[in-house]
Symmetry: C2
Subunit: 232 residues, 2 copies
Amino acid sequence: MSNCDTCVVRNRAICSALAPDEISALSTIGRRRNLVAGESLIWEGEDSVLVANVIEGVLKLSTGTEDGREQIVGVVYPSDFIGRPFGGTTNHGVTALTDARVCVFSRVDFDGFARQHPDLEHKLLQRTLGELDRTRRWMLLLGRKSASEKVASFLLELSERLTPTTCQTASGAPAQSFSLPFSRQQIADVLGLTIETVSRQFTRLKGDGLVELPSRREVVIVDRHALMAEAG
Amino acid sequence: MSNCDTCVVRNRAICSALAPDEISALSTIGRRRNLVAGESLIWEGEDSVLVANVIEGVLKLSTGTEDGREQIVGVVYPSDFIGRPFGGTTNHGVTALTDARVCVFSRVDFDGFARQHPDLEHKLLQRTLGELDRTRRWMLLLGRKSASEKVASFLLELSERLTPTTCQTASGAPAQSFSLPFSRQQIADVLGLTIETVSRQFTRLKGDGLVELPSRREVVIVDRHALMAEAG
DNA sequence: CGGCTCATTGATAACTCTCAACGCAGGTGG
DNA sequence: CCACCTGCGTTGAGAGTTATCAATGAGCCG
C-alpha cells in the first residue's frame, strides 16, 4: 500500500492532479526521507539527480559566490516542489532549516512519469509560475528596499507563509505569533544584509513596539498595520 | 495562410513543440503586434488578459513601489514567452525597450489551447523553469554583489543574451561589441543602483581599459577575462 | 560551572545615495 | 548654418546607510 494514502499534503501538492491509480503508480517511484535541521538534500552545481515534494518542515534554496557570500533565493514549505526536473544542473543548494520530511524521486523517473501525465505537468507549471511571480516580487525587495523595509517585509511574508501549518484558527488569516525557522544569519542571507543590521532592525522594531521577541526564535506581531507601513 | 510559416522564432519559441496542423490552429487565435520603444504591452497589477511570444526586440518586466522606486525583474528576448497564463494577475509591467514585434494571444484562448496540447505546456514549463533559474541567479547579484560586480556581471550577461540576433559568426560565442537596449536609468533599475553609480562604474571600466564606450549605447568588451574577474 | 554557539551592541569605515552643476548630442527654428 | 533648447549622461561634494571589526551578553549542554 501507498504512503500517499496518509500523506498530509496530498491535496495540496502537485500529486493532487492525479487519479488514485496514478497516485499509486507515482508512489512506486517515490520514497519518504527525513532530514534533520541543517541537512542538505541537494548541493549547488551538481547535476540534477532528484526532485521532491515537501511534506513537513521548511527548507531553503541558496546559492553563493566563490568567496563565501551567500544568498538564500527561495524558501519552501509543505506541499511545495523541490528540484529541477527536465535536465540541467541545479543552480542552488537545498537545505533543511527545520527537521523536515520530503517525498523524493529520482529525477529521470519523475521526468518520465510527468511526461506521461499532462495533468501533473500542468500542476507543476502552475506551481512554477507562482514561484516565479514570488521570486520576482522578492527582487524588488533586494534591489530597492532599505534594511528596515526588508525586515518588516520579511516578517509579514513569514507570518503569512507559516499560517497553514501553525494556525488552527480560521484559514487565511496570518499568524500573530510564530516561531522563526531562521537564524539571524539566515535572515540576513534572505534579505541581502549582514547579521548585525538584521539584529539592529529587530531591536528597533521591538523598541518601537511593533513586535515582541520573547526568545531568539519567537516573534509576536503587535502592530501589523504599522509593520505594513514600514514594509513600504 | 499562417504568419507562422515565416516566423523567425518558430523553431525556438514554445510553438516548436507543435505539429504543422497544430501551428495553424494556434495561429488562428494569435496575432502580430508591433511595439515602439517605450510602449507597454502589459501593466503591473492588471488582470492577466494576454500572453505573447517575442518575435523581435527586447522588452523589460518591471515592478515598483508606491513611492516610485522601480526594479526591472526580467528582460526578454526573441523567442521568449511573456505574460501570466492560467489565471491570476500580472505582477509586473511589460514594456518594450527597443522597437519590438510580438505574437499576442488572449490569455483565456491560450490557456484553453495549451490545456489541449501537453507538448506545448511542456515547452512552456521548460521555459518557465529556465527563467526561474535565471531569476534566482540574479538574486545573488542583487543581494550580495557590489556596484562594480553588478555592472560587470550585467555587461557579460548582456553580451551573451544579445548574441543570437546580433552576431552572424559562430553560434554560442558571446558578442565582443553590442548595442545596449537600455538607458543608464534602466541599467540602474536592473541592478538596484542609482544612475550616477552606474555611470561612475562605466567610466571606471573604461579608464581601466576593460571596455570601450564609443557612444552612449555602444559597448565594446576589450578584456573579457578581466571583466569576468570583476563580476565576482 | 565552564565552554560553546549565537545574538546584541558599539565604534568606525566604506560604499552608495543624494543633491547639484556641467557637458554632450540631437533636433528645431530662426 | 548657427543658436538654442531639451533630454540624457557625467562628474563632483557631501551625507547617510549599511558593512566591518571588536567586544559583550545570553542561552544551552556537557
